[in-house]
């Protein structure tokens, strides 16, 4: 066997060893203490040919149920089955985008740099804020960084966190808060909307709210802004970028920082990743911005060029004093989102938002028509809503999967002990048809009988 992507012939290896005055490849590792050197070789499955690996992948893939005609997707919770046209896949898979490194040499990286610059502009516009970075890992990571920014900017580590924020993201925030030691205070939900009165009084560093929130409901953003003002906090809004096709932007509703999951912008469901964290803020916080930022400049002949900028925020320069430790981010997904948004245009994004909301309304009505099925929240929702079923959500999901429907996501972690626990969170996109929704309702009716 020869490693499949190593070009060297035996003769070449021998020639190179001779040049180095070595007798064997092993000698290259002489500096590795003998005591710790691996004796028997790694204990791994044998190498396989490309064809054999492909066969195996086919076999494994058959054990998954992708969404589509045989598993119609009503699951969301941050990952949505939106239309992605062939042109987006085609452009985003161009190998120059895929196999480039971080654009450290701008003279030969204008392609990626310009694409990020365009992405930054679009995200800034979607969020209604002035600045956006070149992406973070995912929505949860953006939330974490948003809170870090708010805490650093205010010098206050008290975080007022709405229970309407995606519970997975809240958990990630909690995990990472162990380091800096943020104090997280939860703002409870009442009928699906955040009760901002619960946290009056004491100063805080961040108020965090979802818009729409995890249950699809539309929180009282004026209330959120007021709380931020009253506590001296930065208002961090977790938003769904699709909603910006229809709803007011976080920025126009008072957000200081807008964070979101960018998956709905052209990224495949991908079993949860790679997605991309959207991050934007006001200009005054730009020097605390986490992650990469591309700016405009000129080359030595005065030609407009792009380059990564404000590097002094970044870990490779600032080390322990950096505003974040992020290095590798999700650039390819950011490029994908820029292409998708270019394909959509304002009218397309509006249609995605409107179509998703229409399907939600239709589905909600159809499902609430089933005996024993109740709305878990009363508030207006955008494209996602929670239902209380006669059976546990997990049971319904299993049964429906056999009927060809991914019924939704169960509401449990992050809502333990609340009246939301065990409900089913149903999501729609502009791809859901009347026929699919009718079929789903008919199957759910059977499943909960």
């Amino acid at each position: 066997m020869r490693a499949p992507f190593v070009p060297h012939t035996e003769a070449e290896v021998a020639e190179m060893l001779t040049f180095l005055g070595l007798a064997s490849l092993d000698e290259l590792f002489a500096t590795v203490p003998a005591a710790v050197r691996l004796a028997g070789g790694l204990s791994l499955p044998d190498h396989m040919s490309e064809a054999d690996v492909t066969d195996r992948l086919f076999e494994l893939g058959e054990r998954n149920k992708p969404v589509g005609r045989s598993l119609v997707c009503f699951a969301g919770a941050g990952a949505y089955d939106h239309e992605v046209p062939a042109v987006v896949r085609s452009l985003a898979s161009r190998s120059e985008f895929v196999t480039a490194y971080t654009p450290y040499q701008p003279e030969v990286s204008q392609g990626v740099l310009q694409a990020i610059f365009e992405y930054q502009t679009m995200v800034a516009r979607l969020s209604g804020l002035e600045i956006a970075n070149g992406s973070l890992y995912d929505g949860a990571a953006s939330l974490m960084e948003g809170v870090n920014l708010a805490v650093a900017a205010t010098g206050n580590s008290r975080v007022l966190l709405s229970a309407g924020v995606n519970p997975r993201w809240r958990e990630v925030l909690a995990t990472f808060s162990h380091g800096p030691g943020h104090e997280i205070v939860e703002l409870p939900l009442v009928q699906g909307r955040t009760d901002f009165s619960a946290a009056a009084g004491e100063p805080a560093g961040a108020v965090v709210v979802g818009f729409p929130n995890f249950l699809g409901c539309l929180d009282d953003m004026a209330g959120a802004r007021q709380l931020a003002d009253a506590t001296g906090a930065r208002l961090v809004v977790c938003y769904d970028p699709v909603a910006s096709g229809l709803l007011k932007s976080p920025g126009s509703l008072g957000a200081d920082v807008a964070v979101g999951e960018g998956q709905p912008l052209g990224v495949a469901l991908s079993f949860g990743g790679p997605y991309l964290g959207l991050f934007s803020c006001r200009s005054r916080d730009v020097r605390r911005l986490p992650g990469r930022l591309v700016g405009e400049t000129l080359d030595s002949e005065g030609t407009l060029s792009y380059v990564t900028t404000l590097r002094a925020r970044e870990q490779d320069i600032r080390r322990e004093k950096a505003s974040s430790n992020v290095c590798t981010n999700q650039t390819l997904m950011a490029v994908t989102a820029a292409i998708q948004l270019g394909w959509l245009g304002p009218a397309g994004l509006r249609e995605v938002a409107l179509g998703s909301a229409r399907a939600a309304r239709y589905a909600r009505e159809a499902l609430l028509g089933i005996e024993g099925v109740e709305a878990a929240t009363e508030a207006a929702t955008f494209r996602e809503f929670a239902l209380r079923l006669p059976v546990e959500a997990e049971v319904a999901i299993e049964r429906l999967a056999e009927e060809g429907y991914l019924a939704g996501v169960s509401v449990r972690e992050g809502y333990e002990g609340t009246d939301l626990e065990g409900t089913l969170l149903v999501a729609t996109t502009e791809r859901r048809t009347r026929q699919e929704i009718d079929g789903f309702a008919a199957s759910l009716e059977k499943a909960v009988r």
Binding site: M16, L38, G41, E50, Q110, G111, Q114, Y137, E320, C327
Partner: protein, 511 residues
Amino acid sequence: MTSETETTPAAPGGRALSAPLMGHEAEPTLFDLSVSGRSAASFRTTELPAWSAEELLPAELLAGEAARLPEVSERDLVAHFTRLTHRQYSVDLGAYPLGSCTMKYNPKVCDEAASARHFAAVHPAAPASCTQGWLEVLVELEEMLCAITGMSAATLQPAAGAAGELTGLLLMRRYHEERGEERHRVIIPDSAHGTNPASVTLGGYEVTTVGTNERGGVDLEGLRAALDTDVAGIMLTNPNTLGLFEEDIVEIAAAVHEVGGLLYYDGANLNAILGVVRPGDMGFDIVHLNLHKTFATPHGGGGPGAGPVAVSERLVEYLPGPRPVRLPEGGFGWARPSRSIGRLHSWHGNALVLLRAWTYLRLHGADGLRQVAEIAVLNANWMKERLRESYDIAYDRTVMHECVLSAKSLDDETGLRALDVAKRLLELGFHSPTVYFPLIVKEALMIEPTETESPQTLAALAEALELIASEARAAGSSESARGAPRTTPVRRVDEARAARHLVATYDQRSG
């Protein structure tokens, strides 16, 4: 016929002057190409009632108009982004000897695996009954990573190396907390990558820096002096960022363990030691791996990556959850470690990146990986020896997968700096090495050829680097390189200006 700014006419989408094939103009932005009312999108026919926005949502929350986005035809969208790709260097165009970045060839079969509908169209919240294939891949990947690192279990959630580091530090913190200990410091060598100290801070620790000895390793005495029971652990890259193997690793491990600290292995350089030595055997407790380096998942122009963290037995129960596991009754499911530090990612990590790495590992097996390391190291040493006459060698001993050279003498003699070497090299058909890192080497040029570059490519790269040095020495000046690059779509870019006059969106452009 006007662009979205409504002041200048829209730019022509079909003119290809920005494609280096044709010319050297700047590519207009997508916003410049926008024409009000133009569009590309279309959607499924749903046959749903055509409720208006006002019927669906509270009027006071509705935006007056949709977010401003460019309005372009599919044709112009394609032309624009295709031209951008022609303005972009990539592994697929040529060698990318960026030290510390392991820019090896990214096998196409891995891309194809990641684009298969049966993996790419799976919802992350689908029940385990619908994702058995995925779970098996993740479990097998975890097992293989443990075998490679000599660890007991791993989390696949971290989305990149830095996220893995932070995860590792939180594991370290939990470990000490569980033992009722409060420790405040983490030790880092001065040669470390910038993410290490940044992660330490985010992990709630203070950084203690230790120096580098004359052989390029950790200064053992300095380390010993810094060690006490306030030290939570040490973060090491081994081989380190000088491309050198820590000869004293056994002693280092013993010393750190002696004060109750843990050893964290920054796996960015794991490529060098695959099948040669395992971090676990060296005494490490926590290892993060950069799958986008060692296991050839493409970098995507800056990401996505994946930074799984593997740990020794005593840390397994703290791992983030839920974790994909083999079920005793057969099949696969999810489980949360009893004392988990909690979730790190919205879902399960960068799954399609993990799938690519799984594919890469199955293609290689044990013998393949060992050869990867051998040839990567062979290439780096060949390069170092070959360039001995032209550049300074920072630490002159056998290197592992990369070699750190320096343009210091060259600068002294001719004024030619590492940056000039980098820019001139672009003109000679190669991406440049990493420059000015590690920080402890002046005018550093960090070359990592990787195992996928052939001896012929190595020779050509060496020749180019020799030429740069020799033409400067012959002229006694840096002139030849100062004007570089001359052949690229844009000439040398003014980085300072970008920071001085920040324009980070199209809307911040003045006119």
